[in-house]
């Protein structure tokens, strides 16, 4: 299967480059920690437990951290002219999209995996989501959220890198496009952080999951389809 080999070789290349340069992962991680400092400044976290706002704060940090990294994901390709090299090769454009998107998804998830325990220690006094029945919906929510962010982010970053505004465009365009998943991921993460889940909360979590899954599928398919047309030839 040539398309699968092409997908894998681009993904492997991106991971290898990141492991060698550690260009994005370090700045993303530091940025997330810095955001947490701001949370402390804003809420005086030493006196209060921030579980009530936990979901929102977590994703506030994650989404901006993701934008920071996503912006860099095409800089390699563009600055060294390699994107033309990719486009010249006999490869379906949607494969390029999926490969770059998976690379970004992995990167975001790795940084988050390191950041979530730190966030918990800093701000959540009783981390209910350390228990399995809270943990798995929490993790599923995070993964679905990351999928949306990496999907939209990769697409918009491709546009942005070819414009004169470059880095500015990703948050401006990416945030409103991602707005429909903001509510759902915050609700899922926030609910799982807290204690007892009431009937209403459970219903909201279920609704959120449905929206997330639907959004991920619809956007992923739509973006993979039009990626080719957007890149042009």
């Amino acid at each position: 299967m040539l398309p699968l080999r092409q997908l894998w070789v681009i993904l492997k290349k991106d991971i290898l480059l990141e492991l060698r340069t550690k260009e994005m992962i370090l700045s993303m991680f530091i940025f997330v920690l810095l955001t947490m400092l701001v949370f402390d400044a804003a809420f005086m976290a030493d006196k209060n437990d921030l579980t009530t706002f936990g979901g929102g704060l977590l994703w506030l940090a994650f989404i901006f951290m993701s934008f920071l990294g996503l912006n860099r994901s095409f800089v390699h390709e563009k600055d060294e002219g390699c994107f033309d090299g990719l486009l010249l090769s006999p490869i379906d454009r949607s494969i390029i999209y999926v490969a770059k998107m998976l690379g970004n998804l992995i990167l975001i998830s790795v940084v988050e995996a390191a950041a979530i325990p730190i966030f918990t220690i800093f701000f959540i006094r009783y981390p209910y989501y350390a228990h399995w029945d809270h943990l798995w919906p929490f993790v599923v929510g995070v993964v679905l959220g990351n999928f949306a962010i990496a999907g939209v982010g990769t697409f918009v970053a491709t546009l942005a890198i070819n414009t004169k505004r470059r880095e500015q465009l990703l948050p401006i365009l990416g945030f409103p496009l991602l707005y429909p998943v903001m509510g759902p991921i915050v609700i899922i993460s926030g609910t799982m952080m807290g204690g007892k889940i009431g009937a209403l909360a459970a219903k909201q979590v279920a609704g959120s999951m449905q929206i997330l899954v639907a959004y991920d599928i619809v956007f992923f398919v739509a973006m993979a389809m039009i990626y080719d047309m957007v890149l042009g030839e």
């Binding site: 546009l159 070819n162 505004r165 465009l169 496009l177 707005y179 429909p180 929206i211 973006m223 039009i226």
Partner: protein, 227 residues
Amino acid sequence: MALRMRLFYALAALSAVLTVAGLVGAFYITPLEVKQIGFTQKIFYFHVPMASTSGVAFGVTLVASIAYLITRDLKWDTWAYVGAELGLIFGSALMTMGIIWTRSTWGVWWTWDPRLTSYLVVMLLYGAYFVLRSSVEGAAERARYSASIGILGYITVVFTMISTRILRTAHPVVFSLKDPGVTPDMFYTFMVAMWSAFALFGAFLLAKVTIENLTEEIANLKDEIGG
């Protein structure tokens, strides 16, 4: 061009007549709604049509964006951004009315109600659409990039509507045509106002697209004579 101009005049005239009729209907014919909110209910004769019209406008952007990606004919790009522009204009009118109504009825200028929130997101999204347009130099590239956002944007609008309705406790529907309290007067006035807004939108759309085409033509002629 000639046909388009005739259509423009027809729509403009229709809109003028219907708007006057709608205003007369709203303020002189329809009864005062007494059950819930009283006089401020009258804003809905114009508020709801504005919302529908801006939805149609962004729909024009969606359809024209798809048409551009298929045909690569730049005329569709013109239709797409004129649609978005009008969507933003009607959206601004809508939100201004909404804010006035919110203040007079609920006593606050803003509330994070699903409709208000959705519309704020939509306005920001299409605002970003124009930021994107202004940052691309080549016409074909600009058309391609903005077409993709024209498509994804509309999907986002749909998802935003769904998600805000599911996740936030929706406020009661204040005015519904199915309400037994709605008299025939009210129904017809509402319909007249609705069509006046659509006609106005149609006229604006044709006028603006024609202006853009003429501007283009002038630029081409200037090129030809070497100006």
